[in-house]
Amino acid sequence: MRFVVKRLLLFAAALFGVSVLVFAALRILPGDVAVVMAGTNATASRVAALRAEFGLDRPYVVQYLDWAGGLLHGDLGMSALTGRPVATQVGTRAAVTFPLIILGLVIALAIGLPLGCAAVITRSPRLRGFFHVLAIAGGAVPALWSGLLLLLLFGRGIGVLGVLPSQGFPTDGWSAPGRAFASLILPALATGIVAAAGIMRYTRAALEDIAADGGPVDMAMACGMTRTQALLGVGLRLAAPQLVSVAGLTFASMITGVMVVENLFALPGLGALLVGDVGNRDLVAVQSELFLLAAFFLTLGLAVDLAHRALDPRLADDKEDR
């Protein structure tokens, strides 16, 4: 229990730190939304008027308190440029990005886990070598390139086997679930394949460590399991906490990693939103979006930590003994 409370306090402190950091870092950027809005024909007085309209002429401390105060009420603010609430904007984009990431992660796990296990189970040195090369090669492929290849293979109108939509998200979003899902398959494969290589390597390493450690796997075999059974039934169970960490990290890194892929497939996701808002110096929107992302990363970390303790009771004992 104490661990959970401590962990939560740390979480809150980190959120506060992130909010200050994000706010300060964005003020270093030259230019502001008023200049962008006024454009290349603008007179100085027009820019000044817009700046006053957006409250950009107030001191930074006031601007920060204004924003942070809103955050405490769960109000992420309004985008100065689009005039829509930031929460709505993030929501619509997340409806593309998160399904994409989850699908990508499922693909990564579906490919990475079995291959990682197979790499340990196999005894032929040749096959082991093959798995090794596969993991390294897979990890070295940039998602942009795998995406292009997939487009050339499966993209409708472009590919050899043009069966999948290659560009954009359906006009009506998830109200046409089939088409929405179909438009995410290629991007998810592009990200998933690359992430799978990472998961495969980690799975292999974790399983091998446990097998080399001897104890549990040997014991299981001593009790009558075959090596494969022991590795999958006991070894994998022991490796689970490590794998959960890796899956969590992969998930987190995918949030930023999918931005390139979103761009390639012209998907209106979080990446495009963030890049566009930074370019337009819509700082209230950018800082809220970054804050949300950071909060999400932190929550993920928290969830992984708590999952560890649920998966591995020994961890709880260790901590409380101390």
């Binding site: 005894r123 472009i158 761009n263 819509d282």
Partner: protein, 561 residues
């Protein structure tokens, strides 16, 4: 291998120990037997491994088969609906157009950017007079007009029975109100019509504008944002929606994705009535994404298409590729207040040293050379490319006079926005190097350029695409970021504005433009000729000026069978 043997050995050892326990019960013995049997059947060198392989293989194949199956199904279904969505003549009721630049919002009264004018003016909002693809003034909401002899009074006669898309009547009251609001609230481009004093509704069909001084640009400016007419009785979210009197209404808008237009069922006119029921404009900032979208049929038109990538479409009979004239000028501006660049010889050197032909060739060879500040579609245009022809010897000579050489180069920094690609900067750098100019490239975000160069005027060389038409005033405004201050040019420009005939105005503008070009406050790298590509069967997409004037009402698509 040793590990493998160990594992096997351990299993064997288990069996041996248990067998030695002769007192074991019968059921234990049977477990032994079955274990032994399994150990044999799971001989690691034969049966064990391949099964794993087999399972993963089957799983992968099953997943792939499922995915392909599901998608073939959806693809077919989707194609089916697409095919069904045609009207009797075979003409599609939806046309999808891919554009590169997206407006961040739809607030045409406050937000800058020609992307906004391109998609909204003439489509959703209508202006008092309209602009054609010839860059000339045509009747709009006003069917005719008169200008008084002294050029100070404009009288517009409106079309009868006009209304907004919400059903509200559009009459002279709305026109006068819209123009007066522009002046009072200082909306975007209000300063273009600074000579306009007030607008009055004489009766419900007649509007009178009074000017403080004659302005030969007035009518042309009224085709743009200053002449737009809004419903004074309605309110709407101006950033996310648009309410006008045009042939289309905005169904939905997402700056990162698309804007969806629907034909306005209450449109007042016949001439500009929408020919296609739905128009989807997709925003495709990535060049390759645009190409893919056109190839796969997600869009029927791509405008602009990068000229260097248009080759395959030119060869393909299913597509039409065209390049059109526009008002985009790629201006390499020299900061006139900078100590190094206030030396005219240095500025002239850069103009002589720049090889425009090479730059244009590397961009696909469709752009036009431009020797001065006025593009070919604007009044006052003259071919000024002969003022500073490409001449390396002359450039070297001038540099020598100014005291620089290749061994003792002049250091200059070029600041430009990353939206234009790195090639332009690299080309300029390599062209200027042998002349004795060491060009440093500062490649920045567009917002940074706006702040540092445009707002603060803090730069040496700058490169930007000035897309606006009729923007010669920038050379007659010394506090614009060019910092170009020439009394003669300002006097000529004033005369051009005061002129009461177009010919007279053009004459003064041409004279002023020539002086500007000779003074070399900038080099005009090229006039961007926009290349567009569309599928065969698309009709009515304008060839010229489509970056600012895009009349969607005339666009149709008839898919070939």
């Amino acid at each position: 291998m040793s590990q493998d043997n160990g594992a096997h050995g351990a299993a064997g050892a288990t069996n041996t120990t248990q067998k030695n326990e002769t007192t074991a019960a019968a059921n234990v013995a049977s477990t032994d037997a079955s274990l032994e049997g399994r150990a044999k059947s799971r001989n690691p060198k034969n049966g064990g491994k391949p099964k794993w392989w087999l399972w993963s293989l089957i799983a992968v194949i099953a997943v792939v088969a499922l995915v392909v199956g599901v998608n073939t199904y959806f693809t077919n279904r989707q194609n089916g609906t697409d095919g069904g969505a045609t009207v009797s003549g075979g003409q599609a009721d939806t046309v999808s157009i891919g554009l590169k630049l997206a407006p961040v919002n739809l607030d045409i009264r406050r937000q800058s950017g020609s992307a906004l004018e391109q998609i909204l003016i003439g489509n959703v909002y209508e202006s008092l007079v309209s602009r054609g693809s010839d860059n000339k003034v045509h009747p709009g909401l006003a069917k005719s007009w008169e200008v008084s002899k002294d050029g100070l009074t404009y009288t517009f006669h409106l079309n009868g029975k006009m209304n907004f898309s919400n059903g509200d009547t559009l009459d002279a009251e709305d026109v006068a109100w819209s123009i007066n609001e522009l002046k009072a609230k200082k909306y975007y481009n209000y300063d273009q019509v600074r000579n306009l004093d007030k607008a009055e509704a004489v009766d419900s069909q007649t509007v009178r504008l009074t000017l403080t001084a004659p302005d030969s640009n007035m009518l042309w400016y009224l085709t743009g944002r200053p002449g737009l007419v809004y419903d004074k009785d309605a309110t709407w979210d101006e950033k996310t929606g648009a309410l006008g009197s045009g042939p289309y209404t905005v169904e939905s808008f997402d700056p990162s994705d698309k804007i969806v237009f629907k034909a306005n069922p209450k449109y007042w006119g016949d001439e500009h009535k929408a020919k296609t029921g739905n128009v989807i404009v997709r925003f495709l900032p990535d060049d390759n994404a645009g190409i893919n979208a056109l190839k796969s049929g997600d869009v029927q038109v791509l405008s602009p298409i990068t000229a260097t990538l248009a080759g395959p479409f030119r060869k393909n009979p299913d597509y039409v590729v065209k390049s059109g004239d526009g008002s985009d000028k790629f201006v390499l501006a020299f900061n006139m207040t900078d100590a190094k660049l206030s030396d005219k010889r240095v500025r002239q050197t850069i103009r002589y040293a720049t090889d425009h032909e090479q730059i244009i060739a590397s961009r696909g060879g469709v752009d036009a050379e431009l020797g001065g500040p006025i593009p070919s579609v604007d009044p006052g245009y003259e071919d000024l490319t002969g003022v500073y022809p490409h001449d390396e010897a002359e450039a070297r000579q001038l540099m020598k006079e100014a005291g620089y050489s290749e061994s003792k180069p002049l250091q200059l920094t070029l600041t430009y926005a990353n939206v234009y690609g790195t090639e332009l900067g690299d080309q300029l750098k390599s062209q200027l190097k042998p002349i004795g100019i060491d060009l440093k490239i500062d490649y920045v975000e567009f917002s940074t350029w706006l702040q540092d160069v445009h707002t603060n005027g803090d730069y040496e060389l700058s490169l930007v695409d000035h897309a606006e038409s009729h923007d010669f005033y920038k050379w007659a405004t010394p506090d614009y970021y060019y910092h170009y201050d020439n009394k003669e040019v300002q006097a000529l420009y004033a005369k051009a504005l005061a002129a009461t005939t177009d010919e007279e105005a053009s004459k003064y503008l041409a004279e002023a433009a020539k002086i500007v070009s000779e003074d070399a406050p900038a080099d005009w790298l090229f006039s961007w000729r926009v290349t567009i590509a569309y599928a065969k069967g698309v009709e009515g997409f304008p060839q010229n000026l489509s970056q600012t004037v895009l009349p969607l009402w005339q666009v149709t698509y008839t898919p070939s069978k």
